[in-house]
């Protein structure tokens, strides 16, 4: 099969060259997915998907065009190349477009490309049973479990060839807790696994998260507005802090536009010295990490913030050429923040006035990093103790300020197959009730 994909990639590149492209790259892939669905706590569907994809990018006189299709027949592929050339001919020339030119042939094997369908069904049913036994108030709104296996070939006209065999199991559970007519907010626990060697409920932070949601049926109002400590669970940390950093401060869009408030802050302190934020596609927590970027460069682990200092932007080669900064090692989102030394429970004990937030429902953070939204699945912390789950509580603050007022990083870490993130407490965040 890999030979078939290579042959098709070769046809695409030579067709592009013959039509005048100065550069062309393509990715040709074939995937098979097995999936089980549970709805309202009951099995509802089994799916088998046979998929394929072709992605083509060409440069002609530094004008770029891209097309995607999912057909492998030679006529369709050649027509797509022609379409791609036409698209590029109508674009503006931009000298910033650039792709890997280090000729090489490399092969990657990631995860387990072979699906054990019976084991997947067994672990799915076991997870449903474990939830029912350990967490009887939980209603599984939807569970999707799957194994996706794929073969792909990346090839460009500079002689770069990557072959990838990949496969992984993923479990995504959306649930809420109920008692009579009362119910909690929904929450989602997700994990990607290379193998099915243990019960899924014991992976990532799933069991802990299910327990927490069970305690959120009865809620209390916040009471008076205060400025205090917000302890962000890994998911909320991602939603409030990391998405803002990556979306608004360090990536192509905001730096090319010039709207990033960190555009002049490289090699300066932007966070507490205890914070390091890395993108780590090759660390063990990343079951399927990025092997190469969409511009054909081999991926590398790199730090965005090291010991509180902004050391690298998350730029593509295009973004780097547009802004004059260095290209990032990876364009993936395998985020990692090294754990601290304090156990989660001890962090709670050290907070006098604050809240624990598991999930954040907020608007798009402003380009300045200011945010405001609802602290979902949250608990009140007073005098070192969790005093109850909170109803309708809003938090607002400014991410750059929070990073400088970091209080503590937990020893406990979420490793869900994609990221490795701890709980982090920040001071100076405004918390208000309805």
């Amino acid at each position: 099969m890999m030979k078939k994909l290579e042959r098709l990639a070769g046809i695409i590149l030579s067709e592009a060259k013959s039509l005048g492209a100065s550069f062309a790259q393509c990715t040709v892939s074939e995937d098979e997915t097995k999936e089980f669905n549970v709805d309202g706590g009951k099995f509802s569907l089994m799916r088998t998907l046979f998929d394929r994809g072709v992605s083509i990018t060409v440069l002609k006189d530094q004008r770029k065009g891209s097309v995607q299709l999912n057909r492998f027949d030679e006529d369709a592929v050649k027509a797509a190349v022609k379409d791609c050339i036409a698209a590029s001919e109508s674009a503006e020339p931009d000298p910033a477009w650039a792709f890997s030119d280090k000729a090489c042939i490399l092969e990657f094997t990631v995860g387990d490309p072979v699906c054990d369908t019976d084991a997947l069904f067994f672990r799915t049913r076991e997870l449903l049973e474990n939830i029912a036994q350990r967490h009887p108030k939980i209603l599984v709104e939807q569970m999707i479990t799957s194994h996706s296996a794929g073969l792909s070939v990346y090839m460009n006209t500079n002689g770069v060839v990557y072959q990838t065999h990949s496969g992984a199991y993923s479990f995504s559970v959306m649930y809420s807790a109920h008692e009579g007519e009362k119910g909690s907010s929904f929450y989602s626990s997700d994990v990607t696994l290379a193998c099915l060697d243990r019960p899924v409920i014991d992976c990532a932070l799933m069991d802990r998260e299910l327990s927490a949601v069970e305690q959120q049926i009865e809620t209390i109002p916040l009471g008076d507005k205060f400025v205090g400590t917000v302890l962000l669970a890994p998911q909320a940390l991602m939603e409030i802090v990391l998405f803002t950093i990556l979306g608004n401060f360090v990536s192509d869009g905001s730096l090319i536009e010039g709207t990033s408030i960190w555009k002049d802050r490289l090699n300066t302190q932007v966070a507490d010295p205890r914070l390091t934020l890395s993108v780590s596609p090759y660390k063990a927590h990343a079951v399927i990490g990025e092997d190469y970027t969409h511009e054909g460069f081999l991926a590398q682990d790199y730090d965005i913030i090291r010991d509180g200092k902004l050391v690298r932007f998350a730029l593509s080669q295009y973004g780097a050429n547009k802004t004059g900064f260095e290209r990032a090692g990876s364009t993936g989102w395998n985020l990692q923040i090294p754990a601290g030394t304090t156990p989660f429970e001890e962090m709670i004990r050290k907070i006098d006035n604050g809240i624990l937030v598991m999930r954040f429902s907020g608007g798009q953070p402003a380009p300045s990093g200011e945010f405001s939204g609802v602290a979902k699945n949250s608990f009140r912390i007073k005098n070192g103790k969790i005093t109850g789950a909170l109803s309708e509580t809003m938090i607002s603050g400014c991410v750059p300020d929070m990073l400088m007022h970091l209080r503590e990083i937990s020893q406990d870490v979420l490793e869900d197959g994609s990221v490795s993130l701890p709980y982090i407490a920040f001071d100076g965040v405004t918390v208000s009730g309805q």
Partner: protein, 461 residues
């Protein structure tokens, strides 16, 4: 266009199981321009075939990225095997779905493909207008898009259909700076159902929208933070549409009701002011074609309007054939799939609050101290009905008159609590249709409504 090549496969449908076979082509075209540079210029075509087989309460599904007779045979067999696997290992012993009656709906329109240059030239004209007429912006961004779903559906006991739904938009994004140097952003989508060349015949027709957006961002850059707390506000029609979809619509999708949504306990109960009536429209609303009309869904159910709230009383859910059987309701055509490789899920079509009789100017004049909230960047809601929407554009209302613009803020609350406070409803409905609803699969949806006067918690700074 898809050729109707699969009809011969109907003979292979199992006599004892409900079966759907669907061929589908999704086309997507996109050009994005950032500060005058083209940063995205792409064309995507995704086609294939899928089959779904229902057996005793569970489904088997399979899809293949190939639109051919052979692929149709393969997916029919794999879907049947999956249905058997589920019946064997997780069978629910439920009865067959009530048949809907065999009908057919032929293709009623054709669409053609627009060259990439058309999108680029159009954006260049808009960009040049922005450069000339919008001084003081720190950034400008534009996108031109078109997407379409074409489907050929064959069913064992419902409607066979060949449908196509194209839509196209220009997205305008402006960024300016407040006096103290903080960036503020505004966004506007222009367009709707139809291919790009039909919706966008002349760039000059979009210039008034650019002027209006520019005027607003110039107001916003001088804007103030809203005072936090519970306030009397007027939600503009775009905000009402967001509320209808996110905070109410999702809670009355029957699959989420079965998953524990708050609406499961509210059928027949008063959940809103008697001034509030909410419907998920199929293809025609208030005498006009809906933004994104749906005539038949992907289970072969002929689409009809689904009343959700009538004069404040919760009256119904949106259903698939299976959930309709569970609740003893009629399916209304809400089971929709995004790609050939997606199974139909319960989705909204065109969800809107019905207009009332109040005039917007009277509503503004009636408020001594509050806000007029015009537009939302995004919104999220819980199955409990709790919602949070980002407010990207709004104005103070002081002594019955519009005051200063607002900087970004949020509103939040519990949908049914908030709807009980509605005491004025304007006579004009505003629709939007440019976004995707996300629920396992993306789906184009329309949403809309009139302006509502109500009480809501505003986030302030």
């Amino acid at each position: 266009m898809l050729q109707e090549i699969m009809s011969g496969q109907k003979a292979a449908f199992s006599a004892s199981a409900h079966t759907e076979l669907r061929g589908q082509l999704n086309r997507s075209r996109r050009v994005s321009m950032l500060a005058g540079s083209i940063v995205s210029n792409s064309r995507t075509d995704v086609s294939g075939v899928s089959a779904r087989v229902y057996k005793n309460g569970t489904y088997g599904f399979s899809s293949m990225a190939e639109y051919s007779d052979e692929a149709a045979r393969t997916v029919l067999q794999a879907a049947s095997e999956n249905a058997d696997f589920m019946d064997r290992h997780a069978g629910r012993g439920l009865p067959s779905l009530p048949p809907l009656g065999k009908k057919s709906r032929p293709l009623t329109q054709d669409i053609h493909d627009v060259a990439q240059r058309t999108y680029i030239d159009f954006l260049r004209a808009l960009d040049a207008y922005m450069v000339e007429h919008c001084p003081g912006l720190i950034s400008r961004s534009l996108s031109a898009t078109e997407d379409s779903m074409e489907k050929v559906l064959l069913t064992s006991d419902a409607m066979d259909a060949h449908t196509i739904l194209p839509r196209s938009y220009c997205y305008l994004i402006m960024t300016a700076e407040t006096p103290d140097g903080a960036p503020v952003e505004l966004f506007q989508a222009v367009g709707g159902e139809g291919t790009f060349d039909l919706n966008f015949t002349d760039p000059a027709l979009v210039y008034p929208q650019i002027d209006a957006l520019y005027e607003r961002i110039m107001h916003k850059r001088e804007g103030v933070y809203a005072d936090a707390g519970k306030k009397t506000v007027i939600l503009g029609g775009m905000m009402t549409g967001m509320l209808s979809h996110e905070a109410v619509g999702h809670t009355v999708e029957a699959d989420l009701v079965l998953g524990g949504s708050v609406a499961g306990h509210c059928l027949g109960r008063k959940v809103a002011s008697e001034k509030v009536t909410l419907t998920d429209f199929a293809h025609t609303a208030f005498g006009e074609r809906c933004p994104l009309p749906v005539f038949v869904d992907d289970e072969g159910t002929e689409a009809k309007d689904v009343p959700l709230i009538e004069n404040g009383i919760l009256t119904g859910y949106m259903n698939s054939r299976q959930s309709a059987q569970h609740f003893g309701m009629e399916p209304g055509g809400n089971a929709r799939a995004w790609l050939f490789s997606d199974e139909p899920l319960i989705r909204m079509r065109n969800t809107a609050v019905h207009p009332g009789t109040d005039k917007l100017e009277d509503m503004i004049a009636s408020i001594d101290d509050g806000y007029y909230l015009l537009d939302s960047g995004n919104g999220q809601a819980d199955t409990t009905g709790e919602f949070m929407f980002g407010v990207t554009m709004g104005y103070e209302i002081k002594h019955g008159k519009l005051g200063r613009a607002l900087l970004d803020t949020t509103i939040s609350g519990v949908a049914f609590d908030m709807l009980r406070t509605v005491d004025m409803v304007s006579d004009t409905v505003v629709w939007s249709s440019s976004g995707f609803c996300g629920k396992k699969q993306p789906m184009p949806v329309g949403m809309g409504g009139p302006a509502l006067r109500c009480q809501v918690t505003i986030g302030g700074r």
